[in-house]
C-alpha cells in the first residue's frame, strides 16, 4: 500500500535545516493566496455570470485557464514519478493525457454552439424530460466524487512529504487541512474567480518545472543525451526503461490492457464535466476553438516539461530512491527539487517552496473546478428548481450549499479510506467519463435517431458495466497493489474497463434507440407510419451545425 510504503522509511526529503524556512514560506504563500482568493469572491446572483462568467472570458485568458485545468496535483506529482520509475509507460500516459485535448478540440465548438454547459443539458439535446437531466447529474457526481477523493489524498500526501512528516496520521491531518482550505475557496468562488487562479498557476507551474529541469541538466554538462543515459543507468531496468511493459499496472493486462488504458485516458480526460463548463465560458464558437488551441499549445509544453522532469528525477535521484519513498513515485518532483541545488543554500529553499506552492495551487484549483462543475450540475439538472424558487432559495444559494456538501462529503470519504490505496479511483472516474459521456455526446451530435431510451440505456448501462468491471478487475483484488490485496475475485483481467465498456455503451445507445426486435414485430403487424417525433429535438442540434462550421 502507498501509505504503508510512505510510513516505512519516514524519509525527510528536504532536510531539517531547510524545513523551517520552506514551511514558513509555504504558509505565507497559502495566506496570501487565500486573501487573494477571497477578493475574487462574488456576490453576483445572475446564474449565467456565476456558472460561465457571463460567457465573456477572452479566448486567450480562457485558453490559459483551460490549460490550468490539466495541471492537477495528481498529474503534477504522479506522472513524473511514473516516468522516473517506469520510463516509457509513464511517458505514454502523459502523451495520452495531452492527446485528450485534441479530441476535445473536435467536440468543443459543437458543445459551445448548443449554449449548454451541464451534462444533463447536453443529454437533453435529443431526449427530453427530467429523467435525462437526472442521468446527467448522476454521471457528473459519479465522475466528480472519486476524482475529488484522489486529488485531496494526493494533496495531503504531498504536503506531508514537504513538511517532512510522511506518517499516516500527518497525511490525514494534511488532507483535512488542505480540504478545509479548498472548501473555503470553492465555497466563495465562481468560474471567473477560479479562472484567475488557474491563469496564475500555469506560468508558475511551467517556470518551476523548467527551472528544475534546467538545474538538473547542469549536472550533465547541459547535455540532454547524458541526462537520459543517466536516467537509464539509474533505473530499475536499464534495458527496458525506454520500451513498453515496465509498469506492472499497465503491462499486467497485455496488449488489450494497454489498449484499454489508452481509450480510458484519452476519451475520459476529454469528457470531464469541468471542461464542458470551461468551454462554455467563451464568447462564441470561434473564441471557444481559439481557447482550445491555446490550451493545447500550453498543455503540450506542460507535458513535455513533465516528461523531462521525470527523466531528470531518475537521472539525479535514481529510481530506487524514488520508489523507496513511494511505490508510485509521488515524491519524485520534491526529491528532484531538493537535490538539484546545494544543501543549506537559499536557492534550494526557494525552489522547494516553489514546488510546494505549485502543488498547493494545483490542489486548490483542481478540487475547486471539479466541485464547481458538479455543483452546477446538481443545481441545474436535479429536480426541484421550481420548489426552491417558491420558498425563496435562489440558485446561487443552492450552488454554494452543493459545493460545500460535495467538498465535505469527499473529504470525509477520503479520510475514512485513508488506509487503502484509492488511486484506482482516478482510472474509474476517467472510465466513467469515457463510457457514459463520450458515446452520449457523439450520438447526440452525429445521429438523428438517438432518443431518450437510447440515452438512458447508454448512461445507466455504461455506468453499471463500468462499476462491475472495475470491481472485478485486478485494481480491486488479487494483486499486491489492489484495493484488497488479500481478496481474489478479479474475474476481469484488465485494469481499466474501457475496451469493453465504451463499445458496449455505444451498442446500448443504438439498441435502446432503434430497438430492432420491436421494429421487426411492428413490420409484421402494421404498415410503416410517419417518422417519429424525435425529429424535433434533432432539428435543434442541427441548427447549431451552421455556427460550428462557420
Amino acid at each position: 500500500m502507498t501509505t504503508h510504503l510512505l510510513s516505512v522509511g519516514a524519509p525527510d526529503l528536504i532536510g531539517t535545516a531547510a524545513r523551517g524556512a520552506v514551511i514558513s514560506a509555504f504558509l505565507v504563500f497559502i495566506g496570501l493566496c487565500l486573501l487573494w482568493v477571497f477578493t475574487l469572491a462574488t456576490q453576483d446572483d445572475d446564474p449565467e455570470r456565476l456558472y460561465v462568467a457571463g460567457r465573456s472570458l477572452p479566448p486567450v485568458f480562457n485558453g490559459v485557464a483551460m490549460a490550468g485545468e490539466q495541471i492537477t496535483v495528481v498529474i503534477l506529482v504522479s506522472l513524473p514519478g511514473a516516468i522516473a520509475l517506469f520510463g516509457y509507460d509513464g511517458v505514454s500516459t502523459a502523451v495520452d493525457s495531452a492527446l485528450a485535448l485534441g479530441v476535445f478540440l473536435l467536440l468543443a465548438p459543437r458543445i459551445r454552439a448548443t449554449r449548454r454547459y451541464t451534462l444533463g443539458e447536453l443529454f437533453s439535446l435529443r431526449a427530453e424530460g427530467p429523467g435525462v437531466r437526472i442521468a446527467g447529474a448522476v454521471v457528473t457526481l459519479c465522475i466528480a466524487v472519486p476524482l475529488l477523493m484522489v486529488q485531496l489524498r494526493a494533496g495531503g500526501i504531498t504536503t506531508a512529504l514537504l513538511i517532512g512528516m510522511p506518517s499516516e496520521r500527518a497525511q490525514v491531518v494534511c488532507t483535512v487541512l488542505m480540504g478545509f482550505l479548498v472548501t473555503c475557496f470553492a465555497g466563495v468562488a465562481d468560474l471567473r474567480g477560479t479562472s484567475f487562479v488557474q491563469v496564475a498557476k500555469v506560468p508558475v507551474a511551467l517556470v518551476t518545472l523548467a527551472a528544475v529541469t534546467v538545474l538538473a541538466l547542469r549536472f550533465f554538462d547541459w547535455s540532454p543525451g547524458s541526462l537520459l543515459s543517466a536516467a537509464l543507468d539509474k533505473s530499475v531496468s536499464p534495458g527496458g526503461y525506454l520500451s513498453p511493459g515496465l509498469w506492472e499496472h499497465s503491462a499486467g493486462g497485455g496488449p488489450l490492457g494497454t489498449l484499454s488504458d489508452h481509450i480510458v485516458v484519452i476519451l475520459g480526460t476529454a469528457m470531464m464535466p469541468h471542461l464542458l463548463l470551461r468551454v462554455s465560458a467563451g464568447r462564441d464558437v470561434p473564441a471557444a476553438r481559439r481557447s482550445l488551441s491555446v490550451a493545447v499549445g500550453l498543455t503540450g509544453l506542460f507535458y513535455l516539461l513533465l516528461i523531462t522532469t521525470g527523466f531528470a528525477a531518475a537521472a539525479v535521484v535514481g529510481s530506487g530512491r524514488i520508489g523507496a519513498v513511494d511505490a508510485k513515485g509521488q515524491g519524485a518532483p520534491i526529491l528532484l527539487a531538493s537535490e538539484v541545488l546545494p544543501h543549506h543554500s537559499t536557492g534550494r529553499v526557494v525552489l522547494i517552496t516553489l514546488v510546494a506552492c505549485v502543488a498547493f495551487l494545483a490542489v486548490l484549483t483542481a478540487v475547486a473546478s471539479v466541485t464547481f462543475a458538479a455543483a452546477v450540475s446538481v443545481t441545474r439538472d436535479l429536480p426541484g428548481r421550481k420548489g426552491r424558487a417558491r420558498i425563496g432559495i435562489g440558485e446561487p444559494a443552492v450552488l454554494r450549499l452543493a459545493v460545500v456538501a460535495l467538498c465535505v462529503a469527499s473529504l470525509l470519504l477520503t479520510t475514512a479510506v485513508h488506509r487503502y490505496p484509492i488511486e484506482f479511483l482516478l482510472a474509474f472516474s476517467l472510465g466513467l467519463a469515457a463510457t457514459c459521456v463520450f458515446p452520449a455526446v457523439v450520438y447526440s451530435f452525429f445521429w438523428t435517431g438517438f432518443n431518450r431510451r437510447g440515452l438512458l440505456w447508454l448512461v445507466y448501462g455504461g455506468l453499471s458495466l463500468c462499476t462491475l468491471l472495475t470491481l472485478a478487475s485486478p485494481a480491486v483484488s488479487g494483486t499486491r497493489y489492489a484495493l484488497l490485496p488479500e481478496q481474489d475475485f478479479n474475474l476481469f483481467p484488465l485494469h481499466t474497463p474501457g475496451l469493453i465498456s465504451v463499445p458496449a455503451a455505444f451498442l446500448l445507445g443504438w439498441l435502446g434507440s432503434t430497438r430492432p426486435w420491436e421494429r421487426t414485430t411492428h413490420r409484421r403487424h402494421t404498415a410503416p407510419g410517419p417518422a417519429s417525433a424525435r425529429s424535433a429535438p434533432a432539428a435543434r442540434v442541427d441548427s447549431g451545425k451552421d455556427a460550428v462550421s462557420g
Binding site: 520510463g87 516509457y88 509507460d89 511517458v91 505514454s92 502523451v95 495531452a98 492527446l99 485535448l101 485534441g102 478540440l105 473536435l106 543525451g225 537520459l228 543515459s229 537509464l232 527496458g240 525506454l242 520500451s243 513498453p244 511493459g245 496488449p255 494497454t258 489498449l259 489508452h262 470561434p286 476553438r289 481559439r290 482550445l292 488551441s293 493545447v296 499549445g297 503540450g300 509544453l301 507535458y303 513535455l304 462557420g550
Partner: protein, 77 residues
C-alpha cells in the same frame, strides 16, 4: 483533417505501446522507437492544432474581406 493528422500517429503509438518487440527498436543511440514516437505525437498534436486554428481563421477571413471589398469606399450604395 485534424483527425487524420493525429489519428495515424496515435494508431502507430498505440501499436508501439502494445508491442515490446517493436517499441524497443533502437532509433538513435539509446533512444527507442517507442519513446521517439511519443515525442513525435506531442509535436504533431501541437503543430496540427496550430495549423487547424490558422486554417479556421483564414477560412473565416476571406469571407469578411470579400464582404468589405464589395462595399463602396464611402459605405453608401
Amino acid at each position: 483533417m485534424l483527425v487524420t493528422v493525429n489519428a495515424l500517429p496515435l494508431a502507430v503509438g498505440v501499436l508501439l505501446s502494445c508491442s515490446t518487440t517493436l517499441g524497443e527498436i533502437s532509433v538513435y543511440g539509446r533512444l527507442t522507437l517507442a519513446i521517439t514516437w511519443a515525442f513525435t505525437q506531442l509535436v504533431v498534436l501541437v503543430g496540427g492544432t496550430w495549423w487547424y486554428e490558422n486554417r479556421a481563421v483564414s477560412s473565416f477571413e476571406p469571407a469578411s474581406a470579400t464582404t468589405t471589398a464589395s462595399r463602396p469606399a464611402g459605405g453608401a450604395w
